[in-house]
């Protein structure tokens, strides 16, 4: 098997912009990553960093107008999804690439039974009859661990709890055995205990079915638990692309470092959490140099001047930061963001809940 075959999804230089009356919002601005067969890639970042738009771009479901994919390639099993017609795309959606969303409470149609909603996906993509699709739907409910699936299939969404509904969403997504599952904050809206159950279920099903997963999340706990590779996004760009162990042990980008410092750790007795000062720049009004420079504790003049590239370090780790370049060694301007300001913002937690 060559390298191409192993990569289910390759995203190259993806740019999704929003065009409104008087401005262009660069929600996704040059994103690259790969997902291997059966592997889980986490996309991490604060609200508004473009991670949800990245996932909708892969599905070609960016609300349009005002959104538009303006550049890049999305290679799914070697074929560029951006070249496909709407008709061809429909055959991919729900069949080869599926998606589950953050809000299980509102993501199911209130006027149809959950069985019908699962069966619909099967009927569309597998040419199955009504009866056959229904039976398969019940099987899927069983697979996602729904108790008494025959009975549940006949219920409408309002009769189910949030966790149950998310199981139904997973059943819909996996009904046609897709090669890639995009999970957009699948546990954010759920209770903590249910979150763990859903994540375990996803991992279990991934092992059984061999599905590759793109896990969109702001929660580094979810990343630690489920992901193999991680892409950290900031203001529409990938700033660090690494494997999960390196991410936690040896973060390369100051933003990643900041994210990690802002999580409370049970084994360390820290009085105050460290916050990343300031806030995410508006995608319609981005700084000139490195996008993180205004908030970066290490930023020097160079960082404010020009945007670093996503450069490969050792192995598959890539980082978009001047600190890891040759230029940095020659840079001798002072650190621009002084420490006092950083301290004054201490104690305010930083990364945000909610979707982007």
């Amino acid at each position: 098997m060559n390298k191409q075959d192993q990569d289910v999804l390759v995203v190259k230089n993806l740019k999704t912009h929003f065009f409104t009356e008087d401005k262009v919002t660069k929600a996704v601005d040059g994103v690259d990553f790969k997902v291997k067969r059966g592997e889980t890639l986490g996309i991490v970042g604060e609200s508004g960093c473009g991670k949800s738009m990245t996932s909708l771009s892969i599905m070609r479901l960016v609300p349009s107008p005002p959104g538009k994919i303006v550049d890049g390639e999305i290679l799914f099993k070697g074929e560029n999804l951006l070249d496909k017609s709407e008709e061809e795309m429909r055959k991919v959606r729900g069949n080869e690439i599926s998606m589950i969303f953050q809000e299980p409470m509102t993501s199911l149609n209130p006027v149809y039974t959950v069985g019908e909603q699962i069966a619909e996906a099967i009927r569309i993509h597998q040419n199955a009859g009504k009866k056959e699709a229904w039976n398969k739907a019940v099987d899927m409910l069983k697979l996602v661990g729904m108790p008494s699936p025959e009975k549940r299939a006949k219920q409408e969404p309002h009769e189910l709890s949030g966790g149950m509904r998310q199981r139904v969403m997973i059943a819909i997504a996996l009904a046609c055995n897709p090669e890639l599952l995009i999970a957009d904050e699948p546990t954010t809206a759920l209770d903590v205990t249910i979150q763990a159950q859903i994540l375990d279920l996803l991992k279990k099903l991934q092992n059984e079915l061999g599905t590759a997963i793109v896990m969109i999340t702001h929660d580094l706990g979810v990343v630690a638990e489920t992901c193999d590779k991680v892409a950290v996004m900031y203001a529409g760009k990938v700033v660090e692309y690494t494997d999960v162990d390196s991410l936690f042990e040896n973060p390369k980008h100051p933003y990643t470092e900041g994210l990690l410092n802002s999580i409370p750790k049970l084994d360390e007795d820290v009085e105050e959490l460290q916050a990343i000062r300031g806030s995410v720049p508006s995608p319609s009004d981005l700084p000139k140099g490195c996008l993180f420079a205004p908030r970066c504790p290490y930023a020097r003049e160079l960082c404010h001047q020009s945007l670093p590239d996503l450069t490969e370090m050792d192995g598959e780790i890539k980082v978009r930061c001047w600190m890891h370049t040759e230029e940095w060694k020659r840079e001798d301007t002072p650190i621009t963001n002084d420490k006092d300001q950083t301290d004054s913002d201490k104690g305010v937690t930083l990364y945000a809940a909610g979707n982007s």
Binding site: Q195, P264, V348, A353
Partner: protein
Amino acid sequence: MSNQAVKMDNQPSLQAPKKIKPSHPKVERWKAFYKQLKKNKMAMAGGAIILFYLILAVAAPVIAPYDPLAIDLGNKLATPSWEHWMGTDDKGRDILSRILYGAQLSLGVGVVSVSIGAFFGIILGLFAGYYGKWIDTFISRFIDVLLAFPGILLALAIISALGPSMINVMIAVGIFSIPTFARIVRGSTLSVKKMEYVDAIRSLGANDFKIIFVHILPNILSPVIVQGTLRLATAILTAAGLSFLGMGAQPPTPEWGAMLSSGRNFLWQAPHLATFPGLAIATIVLGFNLFGDGLRDALDPRLKQ
């Protein structure tokens, strides 16, 4: 873990943007409102239509080419011409002049009846919303009863008792408008009542009367204004309908509905008799509907799609 995450929107930004000192908040609000409204082309068109008819109504005695009641039997049922732009009716009266004077009547009836409806509706709604309990139950039931009469029937019932006349049409259409205002005011009062400032004012010793009319009423005026505008459209339409049925203005009054009614008998020989008054009603009602929709969008952006 995610529970520890806190929205960062509220974080103090690094440099506070320097703002020009705003004028009085009320002035600012009206400016913003006017800006919104100006953007809405449909609303501006509606406003223009209303203004147009207002001018016609006020200037009718000056600009009307003929006496609206002057009979000229030698020139009856004349088709539109240079002398009579809209032709003449079955008694030879100039239709354009009658339409111009009719604008006075239609606007007048609309404004008076909506004012009657708004006055009683606002009072009922304020009392129901502010006092709640049995007063609310009683008023709400009363409103339910008024709403149980479909459409124009309540107005018809009232007129059947009072007898047909323009004054009675205003009263009937006014009563017909009460429920709409009462419901909206009640709802808004309920939500304003819960706000903290009302408690604050009460703790300062203001009495109910002052709280209701000085502190609550001004805060619920926007939906009332929107409803009033839209209701003007309905009122004009209903009043014209009543006159058409012979329950309002009587011939030879130049009322548009009554003109339509008599023009109806000449649909074959002279269709313009029925055409122009109808167009007049339709355009003025359209004007109020357009303007009302626009006001709603500008005053309450939440309702805008």
